[in-house]
Amino acid sequence: MLARPALNNTPLAPPVSALSPAASPSTAAESDAKKRTGQPAPPAISPVIHPRWLRVTHWLNALAVVVMVMSGWRIYNAAPFFDFTFPNGITLGGWLGGALQWHFAGMWLLFANGLLYLALNVATGRLWRKFLPVSPGGVARDLLAALRGRLSHADPRRYNHVQRLAYLFVMADIAVLILSGLVLWKSVQFDLLRDLMGGYEAARRVHFFAMALLAGFVAVHLAMVALVPRSLLTMIRGK
């Protein structure tokens, strides 16, 4: 889902050892750890960039997002609060009732798979290793380098700061989508969440804008994949 190396390591980024202040609990899976401990690289270093669980959760998430967004557009069309509706041809479900069925089935996949993704990211320490630290300076530097076409793709194992920010952002955005969705689904039962969103009607807007941001992420994400096609292969084959 969140972790596809579209643009890869920048030579300007700090060395690997500086990337993992969070005590990297379980680093055995990644060869980075071995480099860090100064051991001579054994010949059996795994060439795997994305472990299997990550690829599986990524593609399941992609499927869930497509289902949720397309059926969500159809639901929005039933009572649009802006001056536009989505063309029915790019929606899922055929009618409001069908779209709702897709949406309330897809939500389980999005939720369960997202939870699994986060749990494995935390349990393996990958979250800290791959996405932190991320600094405004680092983001600005890598963004500038990317725009000038000077961002190196030498090491697909490491995310540059723009990627880190983008992937952390989309994790948070999906969390907001799930939480605001819970309010729309069960506004009486999840009353604290409802108040946090500013009420039922406000939650509809939160849900919509979070969807728009997710769609924006997907557009950029796909553009980056088109620029660095190898990243698509690594997300399929793992290396």
Partner: protein
């Protein structure tokens, strides 16, 4: 709720598949490999060609219905009988409160009060029919709550009437039954779970905004539940029955989620 059922897909998917299958057969010699590719064609190719075809597929519909029934159970489990829907000051009432039904406002049924009798059947001790006056003579409550439509929009209104739990107890309903069903003068029908029927904010509404419930809002009575979506709140109720046999509903039978709770 006025949404029309199902649009036909623009593509003739079976014809496209047949065509693609013929092409495959010519090029792939091994029968097993051919079968594999053909299967991939129906699953992936169909999904790519037209999302409509995928959602019209019968097995997909069955799977989605099964998830919807699962969601009924989850919602029953999440439902907290003591949790109240928010109430609002009268100044926040939506004016005019939107009319909404599966037909236009000109087709609203006109029920004659003099001859009207509410039918109560099923697992109840007292099956006597009720005149409106008798319901009005019971203790009344009112509420200013948010009506949330399945379409997404919401509006705040004020309903008054008899707490439904008091009515069910008065007729000696079996409160351990699973469902309470409703039949309406506009041929609408729906059903709810017993815990929601007994919720303190579930009322048999006889008034809207302090006046006798007008025809467009469901005269002679509407079941008002701020814990459920609009289509679960039946108007023009003529008959109430308590049962353990799943009664379904007008929209629910077409695919709307049965629990429909918020």
């Amino acid at each position: 709720m006025t949404e029309k059922r199902r649009l036909l897909p623009g593509l003739d998917a079976p014809a496209i598949l047949r065509e693609a299958g013929k092409l495959l057969d010519k090029r792939v010699e091994q029968p097993s490999r051919r079968a594999f590719l053909r299967r991939g064609l129906t699953l992936g190719g169909l999904a790519m060609l037209s999302g409509c075809s995928l959602s019209d597929d019968e097995s997909v519909e069955q799977a989605l219905s099964a998830v919807s029934r699962f969601n009924d159970r989850v919602q029953g489990w999440i439902f907290d009988p003591a949790k109240l829907a928010p109430t609002y000051p009268e100044s926040m009432i939506t004016r005019p409160f939107p009319f909404n039904a599966f037909y236009g406002i000109d087709d609203v049924p006109q029920v004659d009060e003099a001859s009207f009798r509410l039918e109560v059947t099923g697992m109840v001790a007292d099956k006597r029919r009720w005149r409106l006056d008798e319901l009005r003579a019971m203790a009344q409550v009112d509420q200013v709550t948010r009506h949330i439509c399945v379409e997404g929009w919401s509006a705040i209104g004020k309903w008054g009437g008899v707490p439904f739990s008091a009515f069910l107890k008065r007729v000696g309903a079996d409160l351990s039954a699973k469902y309470v069903g409703f039949k309406c003068a506009d041929d609408y029908y729906t059903s709810i779970d017993m815990p929601t029927a007994l919720h303190p904010q579930t009322i048999l509404a006889l008034t809207y905004d302090g006046r006798t419930l007008p025809p467009e809002y469901g005269f002679p009575m509407k079941l008002r539940m701020p814990t459920k979506l609009g289509y679960k709140n039946p108007k023009h109720i003529q008959a109430i029955f308590v049962t353990n046999t799943y009664p379904g509903g007008y929209w629910e039978d077409q695919g709307y989620n049965w629990f429909g709770g918020s």
